[in-house]
Symmetry: D2
Subunit: 449 residues, 4 copies
């Protein structure tokens, strides 16, 4: 009995990578059926991707059945894995998440600050609904969620969905591991980084190569060489020797938003004036990607895809499904329930942590208490994430406000309200919990302001 | 057997207020002897204050013995209470704490941000040394510490001194209580505010009048009227209705640094360009105060003193000593060991909290878990304070750096170093733990940078 | 506007004491109306008590309206304080709680071990129901619960009732305070004992007289003199010098069940063979008490009442109501929500702790972490109490079993079941949650075994 | 460069098993040198074992260098793994640990109750001393400790030794896994049990076969069949269906001491009257074992060894060393620092838990909060263990007393002292921390009583 994988957001430009991952693992992870699902608005892209994926399968010679559909519930029948890579409101919504905070002098970014809050507020209801369907139709299936902010979204699902087989994934830990391997000139499989923290706020606190501690060497190299393990979408500003030596931790690329705020803001405002928001840059990137995808002679993932930030998402997701399927008990870094792994955080917090991957799900490896240097900011970020989840569920204006004002990238009691009001308005169509549904356009939960 | 009170930093312009407090409580708190202590540099001021205090006692007709001295250890013999109100480095040091951060675009303030860190780094070794003397010479005496940052300093003493009879006091909770009483048109004694947090980062979460909950009414008034319970040294910018309604908490005046950062910075930079640092303003204020103090016909606390920020410090400190002496078991808000009173913070953290005041010391009243809205930022601030205490003890450059970079008002990994280096240099004479003593000027602990 | 007090279980032999307490406090706590409530089965006793109380009021000359009734809901209208002193199943049920465990070789006691578990299982549903009525009819009223096991019952109410104005009281801390005062030859009001733990499992860890620490002296006296602060119903076996010196804590009389188990069991089995259960002794005591109460010339609490174990309950309860009414902010030891006061226990655990008593309820004074010597057993007892509350709510057979097997006085996996089955059967009429109501006698929740 | 293994307590009857384990793993774990170390008193046995081990190596044909010595420090030079299987005071001491408690009506057992406390008190100073040597001579070596009570001893080492490369092992989890595999008729390698708790107090809370949850099936079988996964030294009394169904946990064989105390005590007292203590039984068992070992034609582990309780210790220890050496990242159950893996226990507590075994040591897999049913007893046992460690270090009489009186198998404030005094006296020669060294026989720390 073969494996059925459903890709929700199947019309995404990332799907070819995921297909490639499935194809190249066919021996150990024998997928029998793939269904791509998308919404009405994404129909055109879905067709392009569907056709490309078909050609890829054909070229590979693997016996995989492929279909694409707008009917999510039908697609779920008999599914084993549901990969979710959706973007509620599309790149247009992302543009608002970036533009509005920037216009008030705050970081405008897809997964951090005010933008990240709103991406969460839009995404959580949709994925909760999806999880309800999964729980009803294919209760044994694992949801592998790539949708950002992956940590917050996974926490919302694990706290509020009856479906508990949910794992959040991100390519950042994977990229860090590969970059470190490159620096140390060893194979990535030989490297383990002990991660501590949350998605997009994770630090590496120990680097082991074949089990031998080489952390000091890596820290030295980070200082000397300004090693860049940023994804394509983040410009690395380099970390100071003092920061690295004082924390003795490996920051991740997103930490620049928190510890280089002023410089990043300056750079982003400049970029915004020159090229518009990152969303708009991506939009044009995507446009040309889809032109390439349409080419009927293309039957593999094109090189151009790597320019997008999500490189290796496919490897992360496919390795995870492979290890679950085969109860491999290998170590992968995913977003899952804390359960004490970081002693200072609540059991039901979702963290990004090394896990033993089993058929029974990921088992987090305990890392003990947070390093004192990052204890404060990590606790704050987690408390902020809890406020976002609360607001996403309640649809309460004040809850949304507190999540903004308590985010270290906003933290301005008057401007928070301005940013909040503009973002609520911009995303009105995708915030039913705040506006009480679209049927009559009448606002229910959201405050008149 | 009468009470002996020693005032360390006796030459401070605040001392007349303290004297007034002692005189007016003489019946319930019969002080027999007061000794004012100061250092060589403060000799002139000490003489002026000593003479004024003499005249105040004489005018009151109370049988109190007064003396002033530069010999701290002699003064401690037989002491019951040691009030500490010192300023290591004087207003000149304060000016650096304000000027240097401002010049890099950060809040430059005496007790918050980078300035607060350095005030702590200078003060902690001096007070630890003082506490060692107290423990040796008058081990039963209580240290009543007003020296800022009062919470951090008290935490350092309770964690690192053999002398454990130490209480930190601040006039902020007292002022908030009095302002609320005024708003509600009741007597201050009828009001209890349930405080939660740390010194200069404390919130009020419940207002009781004669035990009746009137929190909602107070919150409404805070929104409507922009009620000002700021001390004289802080300009109130007003809190938005949304902030008050969303947190449902009473902020304290110092919260503007954290939630109105941009506006405060703008205002402070302007003020700086116009009048120099607050330290310089205070310097000139003090100068005229001391002129007034010199007047041989003055035998009471002059009205002009109230313009300084510390109004009511005297009431706070004298009430506290009175209640300890008489085992009053009344409720006062002081800085003391947490011991679970705020469930989310470590037992050995110092918090600002309502306590039952007994001869056996303050007993904190438990307030349970932090409100979710301020959980994150409060945990971060406490973790930051721990980093400051660590740096003050270790004299380690990297420890000082992490305390700066993890302070939400700095949080810039490159500029933190610049600010740190300039402040270390400016305060070199008062940071023996970083520079290894003054005898040969050779730097021991501090890194060459 | 005067105060209305309702006494539920008004027909109890303790009521005259409570009446005395109300009468003697009339000046500061001006009760205007007292209603005694009881159930059909207690009608005869209620009449006797009602008449005695009437005579007591008349003799006192205080303007208090008295009535007695079987209609609880009517009695609650306009009530300010509800004192609950019920015994579900009466002394007959108590006899089973004592006899059945004893017959299997376990401690058979009203509030500890298997007997305590079943008293809780019978009482919790009745008081939850009562609290629901209170919440509906007189939502501002305080429930002052004396019903044992007072700690567990209070925890159940605070966790599962919408009515949160509930305080549990016990005379043990009061008795300990008074005994210590006697030992030290000081007034009870001068003594504060810092208590730590739960009802019937509370230790004293510090004795202050007028705020001065005299713990060592008390510990010495406890060793030397075998000071007896046991209530009338517990025979003191004396504590060894080693135990007192090693723990440096003041045990309470009920600790003998846990640390002198074998000796107590031996003594209790002997007493059982000679006089039957304690319930039966009490039954005959009560019989003669009620004979005395009937005497129409009696118009005060008779001396004979003190032979019952509950002496001073009245003082405890009336002092509490007085302090709430007058927002006295004095310190009393009651059972209330932990909220961090004992740092190792959950916030929502009910503990027995010194509190500041206000109109807004009791505010626990934080005592920090448990002393290491009693940390283990205290944590176990609290976890056991949580299991009892869970079983009382769920009516689940396995939940009841685990609460028994995890009680240190039972802890026998096979005999636990035997004891459980016999007790379930004996108390069938009073365990609707296990047997699904009485209407058709059909068992719903309880397992067939 | 080959591996050097030192076996401390090399003269133990278990050593042949360990040798067998080393020999059969030679390919993946290429040991080059084995040194057996013992003390003067064990010289004769050491010679017998040394000769047997020589013959075993010869028979195997593996190129392993073997030696035996009384000079521990010399043996440590260049060592990679130190296996510690000592018995301070020998079987004679064990006999006292068993006899003395039994004679007072308490469980007399080697690793539980009063006997376990004294085994810890004797062992901890010796192993701390050994660890100091290791840290000095071969700081990179791992100490693999089998010496009981393995959990407490490991906690003492990790808390008080500079040498942190210490892992405690026990065959109980291994045996449980193998028994479950047998019951389910699958290979042991396919089975993972999620363990929660401490050494000799560990429960299984989930059974996975190839990652598939089969816990319910196992629980059913445990009830039906009274499956016996006890080691040879413990007679299984069978667990009741109600206990298994109510806790939904797999007890380990030692849990009978806690939940079947009365029956075990009865059985043990009977066995004691018939055959003397277990120590004496073992003594005669050992005698005949050593007779067999002497046989110069024996060159393999004899079958008779399995009658001792420690079967499979070898597999546990050798698998562990193999996985460390090869950085296998497989899952094994060992005793290591908690670090949050069980959220309710302190970070620095030692627990018995599934770990990923790496060259950098064991990494515990987080299991979250304790199941509510066993939360209380587990917390108590851990707090008890902390008291034992404290007493072992302090040599303080009162500390030893509290560890006894707070053990659930003793818990008698008067008899604890009697048992304590007799055990202190019996083990005087091996309790230097209590008696201040042997040189002059003068007691230093232990109280005169």
């Amino acid at each position: 009995m073969g494996i059925k994988v459903v890709i929700v957001g199947g019309g995404s430009s990332y799907t070819p990578e995921l297909m490639e991952g499935i194809l190249k693992r066919h021996e150990s992870f024998p997928v029998e059926e793939v269904v791509l699902v998308d919404i009405e608005d994404g129909k055109e892209k879905l067709d392009i991707i569907g056709n490309l994926a078909s050609r890829m399968i054909e070229a590979s010679g693997k016996p995989i059945k492929l279909s694409w559909t707008l009917n999510r519930r039908e697609a779920f029948v008999g599914a084993d894995y549901i990969a979710t890579q959706i973007r509620v409101g599309g790149l247009k919504a992302r543009a608002a998440d970036e533009r509005i905070p920037l216009s008030h002098g705050f970081i405008g970014q897809e997964t951090n600050g005010a933008g990240g809050v709103f991406k969460a507020l839009r995404t959580i209801p949709v994925l909760l609904d999806l999880a309800k369907d999964v729980h009803e139709i294919c209760p044994e299936a694992w949801i592998i969620n790539f949708t950002n902010p992956a940590g917050i979204v996974t926490e919302a699902l694990l706290k509020h969905s009856p479906h508990q087989k949910v794992i959040g994934v991100c390519n950042i830990p994977y990229n860090m591991k590969h970059s470190i391997a490159e620096i140390l000139e060893v194979k990535p499989q030989a490297v383990q980084i002990e991660f501590v923290g949350m998605n997009h706020f994770v630090f590496g606190q120990k680097v082991l190569v074949h089990g031998v501690n080489r952390t000091q060497e890596v820290l030295d190299r980070l200082c000397d060489d300004r090693v860049d393990y940023s994804p394509a979408n983040i410009v690395n500003l380099g970390w100071s020797k003092t920061f690295i030596e004082s924390t003795r931790l490996l920051p991740n690329p997103y930490h620049q938003y928190y510890f280089q705020t002023r410089d990043v803001l300056h750079k982003d405002l400049q970029a915004f004036q020159e090229n518009g928001t990152r969303a708009e840059v991506v939009q044009s990137l995507e446009k040309s990607l889809f032109e390439i995808y349409k080419n009927p002679s293309l039957s593999e993932k094109p090189k151009e895809l790597e320019k997008r930030g999500g490189a290796f998402y496919s490897d992360v997701a496919c390795s995870l499904m492979d290890s679950i399927h085969n109860n491999k008990e290998d170590i992968q870094t995913v977003n899952t329930r804390n359960d004490g792994a970081i002693a200072d955080l609540p059991d039901d917090a979702v963290i990004e942590v090394n896990c033993v991957i089993t058929k029974d799900g990921p088992k987090p490896i305990a890392v003990g208490s947070l390093p004192p240097t990052i204890k404060g900011i990590t606790l704050q970020m987690k408390a902020f994430e809890e406020l976002v989840v609360r607001a996403a569920i309640s649809g309460n204006y004040n809850d949304a406000y507190t999540s903004l004002v308590m985010n270290p990238l906003v933290a301005d009691e008057k401007r928070s309200k301005e940013v909040l009001d503009e973002l609520l308005d911009a995303h009105r169509a995708h915030l039913p919990q705040f506006y009480g549904g679209k049927e009559n356009g009448k606002q229910v939960h959201a405050k008149v302001y």
